[in-house]
């Protein structure tokens, strides 16, 4: 600090005998002959969500403590942030691809740690989960370089440099098409170009609604992809807290894809997460539905609830509550609901009839579904019928339920419902292992799709 007329003014560079003040104070500009601020660069500066980014600081003093911090605002306006502490190199640089973090949101050398390490900023609402609703706009990431080993709340006083990067789910030219046809509710993403394209049917879990971002990313990687809603959407038959559609609905969705002029009818895969796994397996089990491959992430091979049947009745989800367990904070785990012993025997999908490759992805710390047990069940069933060559398992220690596209943060717990009372649910997953699982599984998912849908 230097004293000027009795007032203490912070400054961050003192050069020999020349005191210099860098910041404007009350609109007055203090001239100085110091050097410019250091430079923070990010490359590529506009990238897809599953692209790596290289973050570097230049023109810093050697062997000095700095903090690199990232901030991103969700579509709902919540602020997420991450930070990492580094010591600059002898040449006055910091390079997140080369240098280890010694403190902050993550430790060690993790080039993408500032992304998967994002957490709700202090003061944010409780129980948040980062999910992009509007896939046609990017996440805007503001990265800052701060002096010293500090936390992000110590901006702006320590901010040295900043850079803005964009993270996109949609590549240029990808087309987003809302589908409301034959009662089917979904969004189709088509890659740019004439097609036809191989395609994916994209199914999510009981959280409901219409989750588009994974499909948008598949389309950005050259696959037509159809996100399908089946519960909790205003355009579906009500009430919204129950599944009111049955087998014909899912078959229609698959056929819709097959009939699309820009889709190869015999190159369609199905991906499901959570309850979407059951729907994937059930759909593939129909003799007239022939997907080229199946990808199942952390979900059951059967169900405790029935889909809408011929008598037009469905059992409510609340019957599952006998299997819910609670931790000390009152957060609910749904894990036991999908234990094979608790699934209704007639709902268990007859995998004996499977004809296409199946990849099952397990998060070993999954607190929402009995993934390990269901993976075992599927593997045993296929083995018993001489079809083990169709089965691939990826199993990730420390990963939780929500194994999603890479370089996005995991929520170990998040708000599930507000009525009749506020309830948060446990997903599981520890920070670094979950991030590693997302990165590795995404790569393997794309390779699996490449092998089974393009060759």
């Amino acid at each position: 600090m230097i004293a000027l007329g009795g007032k203490m003014i912070p400054c961050y560079t003192v050069q020999r005998n020349l005191a210099c003040i860098q910041r404007t104070v009350g609109g007055v500009h203090w001239t100085s002959s110091c050097r410019p601020a250091p430079l923070l660069t990010a490359s590529p500066v506009c990238a897809l969500i599953d692209d790596k980014i290289s973050i570097r600081g230049h023109f810093l003093p050697p062997r000095c403590p700095v903090t690199v911090c990232a901030q991103m605002q969700s579509d709902d306006g919540d602020l997420w942030e991450a930070f990492a502490h580094f010591n600059t190199n002898l040449d006055g640089t910091v390079n997140l691809t080369r240098d280890p973090s010694v403190g902050g949101s993550y430790l060690g050398c993790e080039p993408m740690g500032l992304l998967w390490g994002l957490q709700p900023a202090p003061g944010a609402r409780e129980g948040l989960r980062l999910r992009k609703k509007k896939v046609e706009t990017p996440y805007v990431m503001l990265m800052s370089l701060l002096k010293g080993h500090v936390s992000p709340s110590e901006r702006p006083s320590t901010e040295l440099a900043a850079v803005t990067a964009e993270r996109w789910y949609m590549a240029p030219g990808v087309r987003r098409i809302e589908i409301r046809q034959k009662g089917v509710v979904g969004t189709l993403f088509l890659p740019p170009g004439p097609g036809p394209f191989p395609a994916m049917l994209d199914l999510w879990g009981m959280g409901g609604g219409l989750v588009e971002y994974r499909s948008a990313l598949f389309a950005s990687r050259g696959y037509a992809s159809f996100s399908l809603a089946y519960i909790g959407h205003k355009d579906l038959p009500g009430p919204q807290n129950r599944i009111n559609v049955g087998d014909p609905y899912f078959k229609s969705a698959f056929q819709l894809l097959q009939d699309h002029p820009q889709v190869y009818p015999d190159r369609i895969g199905i991906i499901g997460l959570s309850f979407g796994v059951y729907l994937t397996l059930r759909l593939a089990n129909h003799s007239d539905i022939k997907p080229s491959c199946l990808i199942c992430i952390n979900g059951p091979a059967g169900s405790t609830i029935k889909l809408r049947d011929a008598d037009d009745r469905t059992e409510q989800m609340e019957n599952d509550q006998k299997y819910w367990t609670y931790d000390d904070q009152g957060n609910v785990s749904f894990r036991a609901v999908s234990l094979p012993a608790n699934l209704s025997p007639e709902s268990k999908v007859k995998l004996e009839h499977l004809t296409c490759p199946l990849m099952y992805i397990v998060g070993e710390d999954d607190l929402s579904a009995s993934s390990i047990e269901n993976a075992n069940l599927i593997e045993e069933t296929l083995s018993a019928t001489g079809k083990s060559q169709l089965f691939t398992r990826l199993s990730y220690p420390g990963a939780g339920h929500l194994i999603e596209p890479p370089y996005t943060p995991n929520s170990r717990v998040s708000l599930w419902s507000v009525k009749p009372q506020k309830l948060a649910t446990l997903w599981g997953g520890h920070l670094a292992p979950h991030a590693a699982a997302q990165e590795d599984s995404w790569k393997k998912i794309l390779e699996f799709m490449e092998t089974n849908l393009r060759h």
Binding site: H29, C34, R35, P44, C46, P172, P198, G222
Partner: protein, 437 residues
């Protein structure tokens, strides 16, 4: 054997990039030995279509990688990672003499990259398309702020990098065609230098008064940079192309106000009558207009107007008095200005005066006059509208040969950025550290 049809996969990484970023084009899932054409199409702001294409043959793995595999023929040949951009040319049937310049930097340049079966050279729109992607090329990185400047009767645009600053500053000047051309300043700001594009031949004030601006105008522009709260007044550079170099050298050497950390002069000259204003300089060119030559296509060659390089010291900037590092970029096939001869004379003057350690000359064989940021299409000649009253349109020969000129642009830009960074950001010899607080 699979009876399924070929499922060709085309990818361009990154699909969104800065104009000076390289991309990788990959075509996969082809049959080995498959012949294909990769085609690029761009519609520029004034509605003209530009295209480039190259012929490839898939390797044993059924892949074509533009960064590694040679083009056998097309608008470029050999291994050229960025060839599909710099070899873009107006589609058949276009007007002659087009030049591609992006005037709106807030939108990207969009290029469609397509794959066609076989080795095609024309009629692309009628062919069966195998795959196609879109690529965005930006002059402005996210977070860069575009600030129109009208203070001090300037017609200018300032581009500020993201972050608190302070940033080094740069005054960016184009040449004799006038207008407010923003794209190079936007790109420099995307690299951390607060840059101001300045219209000094056709600014609002000249349109209103009919009079050309004088030295005050440039000094005002410099002051706006110097006094900006986010710009470090002690680290300001000037970059000029063509006539912009004339102004840059005059300011660098003679101005009492303008104190540059460094200067970059592209395709320029130090030849100018000293002591007058812009009118005097332009008048001196007109006086020698009789030296204009025409090539075999009736395209105008103006390089002789300043030749021979005068020995009279009142007719050229006294380069021996320059006190800051200077980078000269020279296209040896420049048909518009005698850049090479000027650079030689500058070197001689600085050698004699003992300040030639400040001088760096980048000289490129077969490069022409318009040495611009990389990967943009090349124009050996184009229509040029003079700023005279009334204006006249001529077909000007800039010079240069496609491949050599494109390589020169890439190399010169990279070295210009290094030069600017070293002189504007560098100098850690004083050993500042954060501990001095």
């Amino acid at each position: 054997m699979s009876m399924k049809p070929l499922c060709v996969k085309l990818s361009v990484q990154p699909s969104r990039g800065l104009v000076d970023e390289k991309f990788t084009i990959l075509v996969q899932n082809l049959l080995p030995g498959f012949q294909l054409t990769i085609h690029a199409l761009h519609q520029c702001e004034d509605g003209h279509s530009w295209e480039a294409f190259a012929h490839y043959t898939a390797d044993a793995t059924g892949t074509v990688n533009v960064s590694e595999d040679p083009s056998l023929d097309g608008t470029y040949s050999g291994v050229e990672q960025m060839g599909l951009l710099w070899s873009l040319r107006p589609v058949p049937g276009s007007k002659y003499g087009l030049r591609m310049r992006k005037m709106n930097v807030q939108t990207p340049m969009v290029v469609t990259i397509s794959v066609y079966q076989g080795h095609r050279t024309e009629g692309f729109l009628d062919q069966v398309l195998l795959a196609s992607v879109m690529v965005e090329r930006w002059y402005m990185a996210p977070g860069v702020q575009r600030v129109p400047i009208t203070d001090g009767k300037l017609t200018a645009t300032l581009f500020l990098p993201s972050g608190p600053g302070p940033f080094p500053g740069l005054l960016d000047l184009w040449g004799g065609g006038g207008k407010l051309v923003e794209y190079r300043a936007a790109l420099l700001a995307s690299h951390g230098i607060a840059s101001m594009a300045l219209d000094y031949l056709t600014p609002q004030i000249t349109k209103e008064t009919g009079k050309m601006v004088d030295n005050d105008y440039f000094e005002t522009a410099y002051r706006v940079l110097e006094q900006h709260p986010q710009i470090l007044g002690s680290r300001i550079a000037m970059l000029g192309l063509s006539f912009g170099s004339t102004v840059t050298l005059r300011m660098a050497v003679y101005s009492q106000v303008v104190k540059l950390s460094c200067a970059v002069c592209i395709s320029g000259s130090h030849v100018q009558p000293i002591g007058g204003g812009l009118e005097q300089i332009l008048a001196s060119f007109s006086k020698h207009a009789y030296k204009t030559r025409l090539d075999e296509n009736n395209q105008v060659i103006w390089r002789d107007l300043m030749l021979p390089i005068p020995t009279d010291p009142s007719l050229k900037v006294d380069m021996g008095r320059l006190q800051c590092p200077l980078l000269l970029v020279v296209g040896e096939d420049d048909q518009n200005w005698p850049t090479h001869e000027s650079a030689m004379d500058v070197k001689e003057m600085m050698d004699q005066a003992g300040n030639s350690h400040l001088l760096t000359v980048l000289s490129y064989k077969n490069a022409g006059h318009l040495i611009e940021p990389p990967f943009m299409p090349f124009a050996r000649a184009s229509t040029f509208k003079t700023i005279t009253n009334p204006p006249t349109k001529v077909m000007v020969l800039w010079g240069g040969e496609l491949v050599a000129h494109s390589r020169a642009q890439e190399d010169a830009w990279r070295k210009t950025l290094v030069f600017l960074r070293e002189n504007l950001y560098g100098g850690m010899k004083h050993g500042a550290s954060f501990s001095n607080l």
